[in-house]
């Protein structure tokens, strides 16, 4: 027993815990700067969001500690239950949820706190996906297994899309990395990337021009490899799909996307610049980050954030405060911490003996990475404005707690890696 305890502490990946605490602290201080209120200057003042965030951090650390004390078997066993509860919550929120900022995503749980089920859906989806794929004789390459895996991911995606929270929906796409690691054909990644490129070009350029270029490229490739019949057929099929896709992009873009989503895409692609209206947020965000220069303006000295030029500055746009007050040095530190965390998570995943832990580990890494990429990319104008939080840094209890659970469950599994789950 004593031996067991010692090995427990020894086995917890303290490096990850350290990064977790570092990111939480950075978040807490930047929230303080972003929504600084002269009436309540103290960083732990409960009137303010930074005071609340402190509470969330404390709660999260406690929850994290509790998770580490749980039995691993308990977690795997309850994976389907978590998943079903989450789906129920996601369904309930569509009926009784509170609408904030156009998204019906919150459930009031009393005491002024609100719960955002979509945040926890990431965790339970990762968990169930890991549970399913780690089952005996399950291979992603088989159509049936792939379909079930896709359904596990797709169900919560669909419910979240109904809210409609586009950001949280897209997060589930990051699971493609998990599937890829488990054997999904690399063509999924390649074709996925290709379609993104095609999407962007067909918005930027007239569809006939895009199709013309694709046809020319395809014919050139076919010309070179004409002896290989199989390649020729594949290329021609691909060409047909591309043509259909290009036309459907225009259709989707003009008829399916909502106006604000269209505008966000337009702005990111430089088609529109509406600096006072729809493009205001992004422009102010870039100004905030860009004005930080190398070393930043200093703690609590960011004029863009302090004087509320940047919107949503404590949640989705918290990175503006980092960029403005701590400069490129601060941005580099934060992004470096994330990269280190994600790579560390891949390392942890790969050292697991059980496929369940490995798959779950990749899920955690993918979700966190996707959040970082989209959130920071959005603040500096690389991706359209999609409202998702920056893990551990953005203000918000649901977000922090769900990421903490996501991470600490992996740490728990990792601490037991020598055992058999």
């Amino acid at each position: 027993m004593i031996n067991n305890q010692r090995s427990f502490f020894f086995n917890v990946d303290w490096v990850t815990v350290f990064i977790f605490l570092a990111l939480c602290t950075i978040g807490w201080f930047n929230i303080h700067a972003a929504v600084f209120d002269e009436r309540y200057p103290s960083i732990i003042d409960a009137h303010t969001n930074y005071g609340k965030q402190f509470t969330f951090i404390v709660v999260s650390v406690i929850v994290g500690g509790v998770i580490l004390l749980l039995e691993s078997r308990f977690i795997t066993a309850l994976a389907p239950a978590f998943y079903i509860i989450t789906l129920l919550l996601l369904a309930i929120v569509l009926v009784v949820g509170r609408n904030v900022g156009g998204n019906q995503a919150w459930i009031n749980i009393g005491g002024g706190f609100r719960l955002q089920p979509s945040e926890f859906a990431k965790f339970s989806t990762c968990l169930l996906l890991a549970r399913y794929l780690s089952g005996p004789n399950i291979r992603v390459t088989e159509p049936k297994a792939f379909a079930i895996a896709a359904a596990i991911i797709g169900l919560p995606m669909f419910l979240i899309m109904m809210q409609p929270d586009m950001g949280s929906t897209l997060v589930f796409l990051s699971m493609v990395f998990v599937l890829y690691r488990e054997g999904l054909s690399p063509y999924f990644l390649i074709i996925g990337a290709l379609f993104i490129a095609l999407f962007v070009t067909s918005i930027l350029f007239p569809p006939l021009l895009v199709i013309g270029v694709i046809v020319v490229i395809t014919l050139a490739v076919i010309g070179l490899l004409r002896r290989n019949k199989k390649v020729v057929y594949t290329m021609l099929t691909g060409l047909a799909i591309c043509v259909v896709f290009v036309f459907s992009v225009k259709f989707i873009y003009n008829n399916v996307l909502k106006p604000h989503q269209k505008v966000r895409i337009d702005i990111i692609l430089g088609i529109k610049s509406d600096l006072r209206g729809k493009g205001y947020n992004l422009n102010q965000s870039k100004i905030a980050i860009g004005s930080g220069k190398m070393w930043g303006k200093g703690y609590l000295k960011g004029t863009q954030t302090k004087y509320s030029f940047v919107p949503e500055q404590s949640t989705d746009f918290i990175f503006c405060t980092v960029g403005e007050e701590w400069g490129f040095a601060g941005s580099l530190t934060v992004i470096g911490l994330y990269l280190f965390l994600v790579l560390r998570l891949i390392l942890i995943a790969e050292r697991q003996r059980s496929p369940f832990s490995r798959i779950y580990g990749y899920g955690v890494a993918s979700v966190i990475f996707f959040h970082v990429m989209i959130n920071i990319g959005m603040t500096i104008g690389l991706v359209p404005v999609i409202g998702i939080p920056l893990p551990f840094i953005s203000y918000g209890g649901s977000s922090l707690l769900s990421f903490t659970i996501l991470l600490f469950v992996l740490l728990k599994l990792d601490s037991n890696r020598m055992g058999i789950v």
Partner: protein, 668 residues
């Protein structure tokens, strides 16, 4: 471990690549591209200009002609307003409930958050009672502004006025002026604008995204203080200026008095004049429009813009020139039969009076036209008739040395040249060589095409008083506290006549006042040398002209007075001049032998028939749309407060805005 183990490197590789893309982009916008830092600065920085107080203008003894009087603007920040007793508040400001509502709506439309002007230009008296209670009305505050104030309301044409800058002023100033700034428009306010305006200061303040002030930028490191404008000491003497304006009321004309030993202008009256205080404040535009509509045009600066035939006061000039050229001697005489026959032209003396044998002095004293016509003809003809044009040109050049036919570069704008006709002018009328001395003989007695401004006439008297030189006449004696005097005003301008030749002229002028035409205007105890004049006026009654200097020895004042359409110089201009001279030299006016009094002249109305006057002067003087522009000017209220990002509420209807008005106690 499974067969796809290698794929972890690909996933890690994708992650690293994307992170590098993010970092590259961050590197670009944070370090490479400087524009974001500039934008951030622009976002928060609000520069406000601190206006300096405009320099005051004093008279020669330090008495104030123009100063800055504080006025108070009541500002409002609608959001901060709490329910209050509107009736009480309206009473304090002296406005009614409707006026209150209008202002409230206007302020709310401008911005609910930013301060804007609620009530403009409260006087110190009104503000005194408001300031005590202002703290009871949250959301209202007061700021101090300065407006020009003229305690004695004199010398309007000299002082000029200030007005909002026009577009071309802004263009010309290379960005110094901004719309809404004030600039000197006429008079000394215009010519000494650079000295009077001072230097503006800048306040750098920070604002948030709504435009609310958030304190000083960089602790005021880049703020500059306003430097007040320098004071000007004018050469005017307040007492005689006041007396002059009083004497000239209800008359058209001007008075110019100069100190011969310095060229400093002591008295500068243009009549009819106006109260300069009318050109200040809220009613400015309306007042100006009214004055533009005045037939007698108070904005016409008669001392330098009105041109008159100098008449008799010009006569000594030709004689002096002839003496200097050796064409006559001081002993040269003329027997006056009551006229002078020049060719087939006969120049009559006044009333056909035969003066008999006259010499230079007596000719001046008796204003003998014959004598001076004779002298003039000698000057033009002494080189033979063929040389008429050359001789005339020579005479003309000598006349111009006295400052006639040219601007004297007075230090206020608007000066006219007067006129000494060119030979070309006569060529055009009579063909080249087709004119003789007899043709232009009216010039001899200051008539004909000869025109001079009252300033030029007074300057001529300075030259005579100084025996042959003058200082450039000027209205600003000294600049700033150090009393800087412009160099050009200390230079003697010689007119090319030896000082000895002046004595006979001066003797004659003394005789004019002692027992000649000007003897009504004799000043007890002071020897004044003067010359009356009657300037022919083709449109109506002649202008009454008098020029003089006094005392004879060591002259202290030279003066020219013109009273339009009033006949003989002796009747109107001379007495007025004598009062000014006596007041200046003695400080008071004594009983006159002739019984003339200041009251009589001050009360006399010599305004010409307005219909007549209108046809002669108006069209030339008044640019058609000036009055319209001025009227529009007064309606255009400069936007005060800070321009900010208030994009909201533009469309709100007035009624909705009124609903925002806090309910007052009186609304029950």
């Amino acid at each position: 471990m499974n067969s796809f183990f290698e794929r972890r490197y690909i996933i890690a590789g994708i992650f690293i690549t994307i992170i590098i893309i993010l970092l590259a982009r961050l590197f670009y916008i944070q370090i490479v591209d400087p524009k974001y830092a500039i934008y951030a600065g622009k976002n928060v920085l609000r520069q406000t200009i601190v206006y300096p107080a405009r320099g005051p203008i004093l008279d020669r003894n330090g008495k104030i002609l123009v100063q800055n009087e504080p006025f108070y603007d009541i500002m409002i920040a609608p959001r901060e307003v709490k329910p209050f007793d509107t009736v009480e508040f309206c009473k304090l400001l002296g406005i009614d409930r409707d006026g209150f509502n209008k202002r409230w709506i206007k302020a709310w439309k401008y911005s609910p958050v930013l301060k804007s002007v609620f009530e403009k230009q409260l006087t110190a008296q009104t503000y005194a009672s408001v300031s005590e209670r202002l703290s009871e009305f949250p959301g209202f505050s007061a700021i101090t502004r300065y407006l020009r104030n003229y305690p004695d309301s004199v010398a309007a044409q000299f002082l000029g006025y200030i007005g909002e800058v026009q577009d071309n002023d802004i263009k010309r100033s290379n960005g110094y002026y901004h719309p809404g700034d004030f600039i000197g428009v006429t008079g000394v306010e215009k010519s000494y604008e650079n000295v009077l305006r001072g230097q503006r200061g800048v306040n750098n303040q920070m604002v948030d995204s709504r435009g609310t002030l958030k304190g000083k930028f960089a602790n005021g490191l880049y703020d500059t203080a306003a430097v007040p404008g320098q004071r000007l000491t004018s050469s005017l003497e307040l007492n005689i200026q006041k007396l002059g304006e009083r004497l000239m009321q209800n008359k058209v004309g001007s008075i110019v008095a100069i100190e011969p030993s310095t060229g400093e202008i002591l008295c500068y009256v243009s009549s009819p004049t106006y109260n300069p205080n009318l050109m200040v404040g809220r009613e400015r535009g309306n007042n100006a429009a009214k004055m533009y509509a005045d037939v007698y045009n108070p904005f016409f600066i008669r001392p330098v813009q009105a041109k008159y035939p100098p008449g008799s006061s010009f006569k000594p000039l030709s004689a002096l020139i002839a003496l200097q050229e050796g064409i006559i001697t001081p002993q040269t005489t003329y027997y006056c039969p009551g006229y002078y026959q020049a060719g087939n032209r006969r120049v009559k003396c006044n009333n056909g009076e035969a003066h008999g044998l006259v010499n230079m002095s007596s000719a001046v004293a008796e204003s003998c036209n014959g004598y001076f016509s004779m002298v003039f003809q000698k000057i033009i003809d002494h080189n033979g008739i063929k040389q008429t044009e050359a001789s005339y040109t020579n005479w003309r050049n000598n006349v111009k040395k006295f400052g006639l036919g040219n601007r004297l570069d007075l230090d206020v704008p608007g000066e006219s040249r007067g006129n000494v006709p060119t030979p070309l002018y006569y060529d055009n009328i009579y063909r080249k060589g087709g004119w003789r001395s007899s043709t232009i003989i009216p010039l001899a007695i200051g008539q004909g095409e000869l025109l001079a401004t009252p300033l030029q006439m007074a300057n001529l008297e300075c030259t005579i008083a100084n025996h042959g030189y003058y200082y450039k006449p000027h209205l600003v004696k000294a600049i700033g506290v150090q009393n800087v005097i412009k160099k050009e005003y200390t230079v003697r301008n010689y007119v090319g006549i030896d000082s000895g030749y002046f004595e006979p002229v001066i003797n004659g002028m003394q005789a004019v006042v002692e027992h000649g035409t000007g003897n009504h205007s004799k000043i007890p105890g002071i020897i004044m040398c003067g010359k009356t004049g009657t300037a022919q006026n083709p449109g109506g009654e002649a202008h009454s002209v008098f020029v003089a200097f006094a005392p004879r020895e060591n002259p202290k004042i030279a003066i020219a007075v013109v009273v339009e359409n009033s006949g003989e110089g002796a009747h109107w201009a001379a007495p007025i001049a004598s009062f000014i001279v006596e007041k200046y030299l003695k400080g008071s006016i004594s009983q006159r032998e002739s019984g003339i009094t200041v009251e009589y002249f001050a009360n006399a109305n010599r305004l010409p028939d307005s219909a007549l006057y209108y046809s002669r002067f108006r069209k030339k003087v008044l640019p058609k749309d000036t009055a319209k522009k001025l009227k529009a000017d007064s309606l255009k209220k400069p936007v005060k407060g800070l321009k900010g990002a208030s994009r909201q509420n533009k469309k709100d209807s007035s009624t909705r805005l009124l609903a925002v008005l806090p309910k007052g106690k009186d609304d029950k």
